[in-house]
């Protein structure tokens, strides 16, 4: 028995053309729940910018030690949703977040939660590499320093070295730790920024299109790094490159016009998505 994996999804408009009957296919493997324990749980999250709604009742479970990709066309709300997870929307005047977002079971929007501490647990990497205009050492050391995580100079040095090693940058910069971080290439800067983020030992790393400003080789290096990082951290990555989402993630969520359309295992989304809109988007049939 062979199964025909190329059959069209349910609900094809206009009806299938007349022809030999399609061999009865076994039931499509629907995406089951997320792999592993849930790290971040979002329930009915909506975001408003100056009264205009950007995100509509998004509910999503994000598992730990996995890479979850958020895909969708421009303006679909994926970056907005990403920023709710470290409360960066708080810094935008006129932004309002309603709904419940829990990390390890505790609501991060509760009054008792200090966003400064939250952002030590949830790190962020941005689209354009933005190292501080300080030395490489100072860049990586900044987080541990302001959060008081390293108490002596030698401790700080070992934290910096460990972070740079884990970000795959140590060999390239070990001899010039005190040269400016802005003197590195784009790919190196992005890895420096990742090292800076992991220096505070976060639990979650949020990445907002981290490779869109990089060339293919630098992108491949970052993707390999993400592969290595997911053994320690929960990673959520927003990307407008579906190919990248397919390569890098284990779970994928598709957003459209502020709504979460479909979420599931990456393999299932990219071989046989349930929703018509998802299929249209990933095959390039979108208007």
């Amino acid at each position: 028995m062979k199964f025909n994996i190329f059959r069209a999804p349910d609900g094809v408009e206009g009806g299938a053309p007349a022809g030999p009957p399609v061999i009865a296919a076994p039931p499509v493997v629907h995406s089951s729940g997320p792999v592993g324990p849930t790290k971040i749980a979002a329930r009915d999250v909506s975001v408003f910018y100056n009264g205009k709604q950007a995100l509509y009742d998004v509910s999503l479970d994000i598992p730990d030690k996995t890479v979850t990709a958020l895909i969708g066309p421009s303006g679909c709300g994926k970056s907005t949703f990403l920023r709710t997870m470290n409360r960066m929307n708080d810094t935008i005047p006129g932004a309002k977040v309603i709904g419940r977002i829990e990390i390890d079971g505790e609501d991060i929007n509760a009054k008792a939660v200090d966003p400064v501490l939250l952002r030590a647990r949830v790190g962020m990497v941005f689209q354009k590499p933005n190292p501080f205009p300080k030395t490489i050492f100072e860049n990586v050391a900044y987080g541990p320093r302001i959060h008081g995580l390293a108490t002596s100079k030698s401790e700080l040095e070992s934290v910096v070295e460990a972070s740079l090693k884990r970000a795959g940058l140590w060999e390239e910069v070990a001899d010039r730790l005190h040269s400016p971080g802005t003197g590195l290439s784009g790919g190196q800067q992005q890895r420096l920024v990742i090292a800076r983020a992991i220096a505070v030992e976060p639990e979650v790393i949020l990445m907002d299109e981290p490779c869109s400003a990089l060339d293919p080789i630098a992108t491949a290096k970052i993707e390999e790094l993400i592969d290595e990082l997911r053994e320690r951290y929960c990673i959520v990555i927003v990307t407008h490159s579906m190919a990248q989402a397919a390569r890098v993630s284990q779970r994928t969520s598709f957003f459209h016009l502020g709504r979460l359309i479909e979420t599931g295992d990456t393999e299932d989304i990219f071989t046989n998505p349930r929703e018509r809109r998802t299929l249209d988007y990933i095959t390039g049939r979108f208007g």
Binding site: K2, I5, E223, E224, D227, A246, R247, F270, T271
Partner: protein
């Protein structure tokens, strides 16, 4: 060649190739055992071959799923794409080879209940050994990723045809001589046909390996041994040059 920057990608490709190689080993064993069971009238071995066929089917499905996943998620190009596609095609050929071996074993079970026919079973055995060897050679070429072995196998497809036609005539003569042997002879005929088909699959595999490694399609007329034009007409209209024939 350098490693893939994303190690998991390289690992997945290697895993796929390894699985195909494993499937090939199993298919090879199935053919050899099936022929053996016929020659020695070994019922237990024949039954074992029949039972093991489900494993081959499972491996085929698995390889196909893995290859689809690789193509969907990694977007391979060039040599990586050919590798993925080749593994799918090889899995099909090997699965069919397994089915044919199972068929031989089944027929062997039936033959074992009747009288032994040494000269004929010996011919089957000889043909079977040739086919088995060719299959092994082509799978070795796949594992080693070198085209010379593949080309060698491709060029000797006519030997199998030679054996087949000889067996065909031998069986016809036998059956025409003694009508009581028609049942057994027919089974043997089908076995011979199966072996010839296995030979063709080995040639298919050789062509696929050539494409995977060089990126070019294997053009050329498959060599066919044909002493009697009335039995199997050949088609000599393909003008593309045959890489194995001297210019």
């Amino acid at each position: 060649m350098n490693q893939h920057t994303v190690k998991a990608y390289g690992d997945e490709l290697n895993q796929l190739t390894a699985e195909v190689a494993r499937m090939g080993g199993l298919a090879e064993a199935q053919v050899a055992d099936a022929v053996d069971s016929v020659a020695r009238r070994d019922v237990a071995l024949a039954r074992a071959v029949v039972d093991r066929d489900t494993k081959l089917d499972a491996m085929h499905r698995d390889i196909e799923r893995k290859a689809i996943r690789l193509i969907a998620l990694r977007q391979p190009v060039a040599s990586d794409l050919r590798r993925a596609l080749a593994s799918m095609k090889l899995a099909v050929d090997l699965e069919r080879t397994g089915d044919l071996a199972k068929n031989i074993a089944k027929r062997g079970l039936i033959l074992a209940e009747g009288e032994p026919m040494p000269p004929l079973t010996r011919s089957i055995e000889r043909m079977g050994k040739l086919v088995s060897m060719r299959l092994r050679d082509v799978l070795d070429a796949y594992a080693a990723a070198e085209i010379d072995g593949a080309i060698a196998v491709w060029s000797t497809d006519d030997e199998v045809d030679e054996h087949y036609n000889a067996l065909f005539r031998e069986l016809l003569t036998y059956m025409m001589g003694d009508p009581r042997t028609i049942t057994a002879g027919t089974h043997l005929l089908f076995m011979a046909k199966n072996l010839e088909r296995i030979g063709d699959h080995a040639t298919n595999i050789a062509e696929t390996i050539y494409y995977e490694i060089t990126g070019q399609e294997f053009t050329g007329e498959r060599p066919r041994w044909n002493p009697d034009p009335t039995l199997e007409p050949t088609d000599d209209t393909d003008p593309t040059p045959d890489p194995t024939k001297p210019a």
